[in-house]
């Protein structure tokens, strides 16, 4: 008997077991930690940063610190005092030399169209700091806009550190000069339409996938294993084929000199090529094709578990096939329908590549606006705000999906 064993002998067995179990749990947690740390760096923190960017108001405080400080006491009524004008003149001159004036100009232009011109031309014309007491008169002379209260409320509202501007803009709202939340002017109010369009396409694709996927899943679930495995290739091969390949194939098939138009013209059904791609039809076609396997697989895994005895029992009790299907079979497939629909919908509303390639300008979904504001116009605040709204919708749906899939091993829907 080893000394260690003897030494531990006076510790009750129960406690030693507990201690061993605790050590095991720590080891288990230790194995998970590297991945958690990695995801924190490559995923969680970047997403949190994006959400923060949707509220971060850094441009004006950074470029015009003196003006921001001077406007602290201003109550928003009438024009600010002479000191604020002097601070603005000083800030504009400093920023112009540092080359940062355009950053603030861009931010303020979101609030008032034309602000960029006002600010930049003031910067150009303001050769030297106005003599004490003349800043107000000088600035208003250079640009009459400085004599308007709105120009100053714009600076005050963009003074940070956080703003609701981008998040409100993402749902077509804005604040008026008095700070009340009102509807955005019609030329800027486009995002509600974009969200409605995104959800409409999402619903449409989900419905199409359900209609097309249900008979396939039913057939696969009710064939003998050998044959259904063979037919499963027809579902898995497209699933594994590159998204770009499939999108490319649809364009080749549907374009005006494509296979479909060519065949229809050859058959004499049509004289002019039909417009089948770069419109909503093309988007529905390609997206349904891409997402259909995500509907079939969860449906299949649920249908596979439904015992045929129920249907036989219903039939033996005299139920006609339609009644038996609607009242006995269909209700049992609800978990699969729910999981499949949620999965397809979640994936559909976040899609970027397929609509970008096969859709027209009027078919672009929210993702493409996020990408556009990130890379083209560099309006990161708005990109982040739209991203935050999309993320919120996705998370809510994913939580519902998690609740539905809980306890059931539906990895079937997830590339498996």
């Amino acid at each position: 008997m080893t000394a260690a064993f003897v030494a531990g002998a006076d510790v009750p067995l129960k406690r030693r077991l507990k201690r061993a179990e605790r050590a095991r749990q720590f080891r288990a947690l230790g194995l998970v930690l590297p991945l958690l740390a990695f995801l924190l760096f490559t995923f969680v923190v970047p997403l949190a940063g994006m959400i923060w960017k949707s509220a971060d108001d850094w441009e004006v405080p950074q470029v015009m610190p003196q003006t921001v400080a001077a406007l602290k006491q201003w109550n928003g009524q009438g024009l600010p005092d002479e000191a604020a004008f002097a601070a603005l003149a000083a800030d504009i001159r400093t920023a112009r030399e540092a080359g940062t004036l355009a950053v603030a100009a861009k931010r303020l232009n979101y609030i008032i169209n034309g602000y960029r011109t006002t600010l930049l031309s003031t910067g150009r014309k303001l050769k030297e700091q106005p003599a004490p007491g003349t800043a107000k008169a000088t600035l208003i002379e250079i640009a009459p806009a400085w004599g308007e209260r709105e120009s100053w409320t714009a600076i005050k509202s963009a003074s940070g550190p956080v703003t609701s501007y981008y998040l409100l803009a993402a749902v077509d709202l804005t604040r008026n000069a008095d700070g009340a939340i009102v509807a955005a002017p019609p030329d800027q109010a486009i995002y509600r339409d974009v969200f409605i369009r995104t959800f409409t396409i999402g619903f449409g694709v989900t419905a199409l996938c359900l209609i097309l996927g249900f008979p396939v899943a039913y057939l696969l679930a009710n064939l003998p294993t050998g044959r259904s495995n063979l037919l499963m290739i027809f579902v898995l091969l497209p699933f594994w084929t590159s998204l770009l390949v499939r999108t490319c194939a649809w364009i080749v098939i549907l374009q005006s000199e494509g296979i479909v138009n060519g065949s229809l013209q050859w058959l004499g059904v049509i004289d002019e090529p039909l417009r089948l791609i770069y419109n909503r039809f093309g988007v529905y076609m390609a997206m349904t094709h891409v997402l259909l396997p995500f509907m079939i697989l969860p449906l299949y895994s649920v249908m596979r578990g439904i015992s045929p005895a129920y249907m036989r029992a219903a039939a033996s009790l005299g139920a006609p096939p339609t009644t038996a299907f609607l009242r006995i079979y269909l209700p049992q497939t609800i978990p699969g329908i729910g999981a499949g629909c949620l999965l397809v919908f979640i994936l559909a509303i976040g899609y970027y590549i397929t609509p970008a390639l096969v859709g027209g300008a009027a078919d672009q979904m929210i993702s493409s606006f996020i990408a556009f504001y990130t890379t083209e116009t560099v309006n990161w605040g708005l990109a982040s705000a739209l991203g935050a709204v999309l993320l919120l919708s996705t998370v809510v749906l994913a939580v519902v999906y998690g609740k539905l899939a809980l306890g059931r091993q539906t990895t079937g829907g997830l590339k498996n």
Partner: protein, 276 residues
């Protein structure tokens, strides 16, 4: 026809035939685009139309002889292999841990681990772009490998966890009771049995990275453009027959991966069958 579906009445037979017809049409819908593109890649003409004027391999030569496409292929393989290895290491460790860990926090941790799969890739790409740019992780391989690893790990965790679930832990306990230290038990007992699961996990990870284009659009410089990225710009501009040749090559790669997976799955089932 299976025993559980022997149609008895006329209406049942009609319902079954309707299902078969509908499913067949959907199968055609699923397969047609992929099949339609194959012959076009062998066409001798620049026009992507049927009937083919003649057969030729010129578009494949074009693909293999193009520095741009070969560079893209090289990038795809580098990024795919590196990120699948990294996600295998992280994902397998985490799956082993998750299998033993009992805590009320487990669902939350699992949700975090799986979330890169659910969050729209555009959002991930934008967030990572903002975060990586100041760190100098854009326009190089490392940034892309890191983000592809994050996107691929959930698939590894799901695949490996599923394999571990069917793994009989009494085997590991038996090894331990015979005096094997944990690492030896893992190497000699657990690893050989879960290897098919690990291999399919790695394949999933590679496929995820190999097909990913959105983060490449945001993070890659001209030197890191991958095959899907080149295809994206090619499709945007004008689909040339070379793109159809690339598409066919990619499809063949998918078929190979799918067949490997199927072989692994069968092997796994056979192993399970023997264990029982």
């Amino acid at each position: 026809m299976s025993a559980n579906h022997s149609p008895q009445t006329a209406s049942q037979r009609i319902a079954w035939i309707t299902t078969v017809v509908a499913a067949t049409l959907v199968f055609i819908f699923l397969m047609a685009p992929i099949l339609a593109i194959v012959p076009l890649s062998f066409s001798s003409s620049t026009y992507l139309t049927y009937p083919l004027p003649g057969l030729s391999l010129r578009w494949y030569e074009d693909f293999l002889g193009s520095a741009r496409w070969m560079n893209a292929l090289k990038n795809s393989v580098i990024i795919g292999v590196a990120s699948s290895m990294l996600s295998m290491a992280l994902g397998t460790l985490a799956s082993l841990g998750l299998a033993q860990w009992k805590s009320k926090w487990k669902p939350l941790v699992l949700a975090i681990v799986l979330s890169p799969m659910v969050v729209p890739v555009v959002i991930t790409a934008v967030g990572v772009y903002f975060f990586f740019a100041p760190l100098g992780l854009t326009g190089n391989y490392l940034g892309l490998i890191l983000v592809h690893t994050a996107l691929a790990t959930p698939f590894v965790v799901i695949t490996v966890s599923a394999t571990l679930q069917s793994f009989d832990m009494t085997l590991a306990r038996a090894a331990a009771s015979l005096g094997a230290p944990p690492l030896l038990t893992f190497r000699k007992v657990i690893l050989p049995l879960i290897l098919p699961g690990l291999a399919s996990g790695a394949l999933f990870a590679f496929a995820t990275s190999f097909d990913e284009v959105v983060t490449v659009l945001f993070l890659a410089g001209p030197e890191q453009r991958t095959l899907p990225r080149e295809m994206f710009s090619g499709i945007r501009e004008n689909i040339s027959p070379t793109i159809t040749a690339v598409a066919v090559v990619l499809t063949v790669i998918s078929v190979c991966m799918l067949s490997t997976l199927e072989i692994l799955r069968r092997r796994n089932e056979r192993l399970k069958g023997n264990a029982e």
